[in-house]
């Protein structure tokens, strides 16, 4: 083991207090990262413990395989989850994601971690009903481990470095898979240029999710509701006219749109064209691009490609989940590396 080995209390209760006192966690109980547990986690990745995955802002902490594994253990991950977590960390550190901004802003933003490809089924990531809710170990602990890495390696201590005014529950954990098999459209990672049979993790810097009740018969009425929701939850996105927005649609709504002639591209273009905010909503506020479009409605992001549209959740065409964004942060993706094992 390359990290410092410390003597820590044996009892779980004392260990919990010991970790909290050192600012290591997210406030919830942590699994003690013993040498054995960390070694098993590292071994499952098939990569050297000291391999550097990325430097994490704002402190520029070195996210080695071992450091990430320690946080994975603390979050409750199974060793088989580590390759997905490593890909998430790699994606977070890519410049378009603007990790420094996401980590330190007053805005309530955190990474939504979207998993595509065969690994979803290999490790049991929920892509269906309740995919953002409790009850799914892979979803819950991978998302949590991402946050622990952001705090413990990236140095985003809540309240003093992470300056979010209110924060949001999704900053504890926010990880799910796309229901590729039931989607009528190309999955997110294929849209982004990866082969369909590759496992990929995409990080999107998002605000809390809102469940929007939508029509279940007419495509334009469905999309109108989603566009209005994106325009209502303007947050920073419309101030900057940039950033990736996230829309999670049930199989039922996706099929409805598909059957009425809407491919994924057309859905995104429609949403971009119709999700507009009146200029007067910005009275007295500083807008980055206000001088360019005086009087005309403001778009909530830069273009259709800045809307991440994924299919997931239960089947019914009832709610559609939308997430606005911090603004200067764009989705980034990394392929999950093969562990080299034959299983």
């Amino acid at each position: 083991m390359m990290s410092t080995v410390r003597e820590a209390p044996d009892s779980l209760e004392e260990w919990y207090e010991y970790a909290l006192a050192r600012g290591w966690g997210d406030g919830l109980p942590l699994i003690p990262p013993t040498e054995d547990r960390v070694a098993a986690m590292v071994a499952a990745s098939g990569r050297p413990a000291g391999e550097l995955i990325a430097h994490l802002d704002p402190v520029g902490g070195a996210a080695t395989v071992e450091k990430v594994a320690i946080n994975a253990v603390m979050a409750g991950c199974l060793p088989s989850y580590l390759p997905v977590l490593l890909a998430a960390i790699e994606a977070l550190a890519m410049p378009p994601f603007n990790l420094h901004g996401v980590q330190t802003t007053t805005n309530p933003v955190g990474p939504a971690v979207i998993v595509n490809g065969p690994v979803r089924h290999q490790i049991g990531i929920n892509c269906g009903r309740g995919l953002l809710g409790p009850g799914w170990r892979a979803n819950a602990t991978i998302g949590r481990a991402v946050r622990l890495c952001m705090i413990n390696i990236g140095g985003a201590a809540p309240g003093t470095v992470d300056m979010a005014l209110q924060g949001m529950p999704g900053k504890y954990t926010f990880c799910f898979g796309e229901d590729e098999e039931r989607s009528p459209w190309s999955p997110l990672h294929v849209e982004l240029g990866f082969p369909a049979n590759t496992s990929v993790v995409t990080c999107v810097g998002v605000n809390a999710n809102a469940g929007v009740i939508a029509d279940y018969k007419k495509a334009e009425r469905v999309l109108r509701t989603v566009a209005d929701a994106l325009a209502q939850g303007i947050a920073n996105a419309a101030l900057f006219e940039s950033g990736t927005l996230l829309v999670i649609m049930s199989y039922g709504h996706a099929r409805l749109l598909h059957n009425q002639g809407f491919d994924k591209r057309r859905v995104k273009e429609w949403l971009y064209e119709h999700a507009k905010v009146p200029q007067e909503r910005f009275a007295g506020m500083t807008r980055v691009h206000s001088e360019l479009r005086e009087g005309s409605p403001v778009s909530v992001t830069a273009g259709p490609d800045d809307i991440a549209l994924v299919v997931g959740g239960g089947d019914e065409p009832y709610q559609i989940t939308v997430c606005s964004t911090f603004g200067p942060t764009n989705m980034t993706s990394a392929a999950v590396r093969d562990t080299g094992s034959s299983s």
């Binding site: 330190t104 140095g155 470095v161």
Partner: protein, 65 residues
């Protein structure tokens, strides 16, 4: 660097990560003092900051001689 007092720790962390820990820092009162105060308060904050900047960038007389 000008920084409001709520953000001092973040500023220190950020500059340390960039290898610039010794960057001079002028600490301003919390944002709400200037955002919601009157013009006189804002001018006073500004004048204090300018005085501090001048003091930090000025070469001491003794060294100058």
């Amino acid at each position: 660097m000008l920084v409001t007092e709520q953000f001092v720790n973040l500023a220190k962390v950020t500059f340390k990560a960039k290898g610039a820990s010794s960057t001079p820092m002028i600490v301003l009162p919390p944002t709400q003092v200037t955002a919601f105060g009157d013009d006189a308060q804002s001018r006073a904050v500004l004048q204090t900051a300018i005085d501090e900047i001048v003091a930090k960038v000025s070469v001491p007389r003794a060294l100058e001689a």
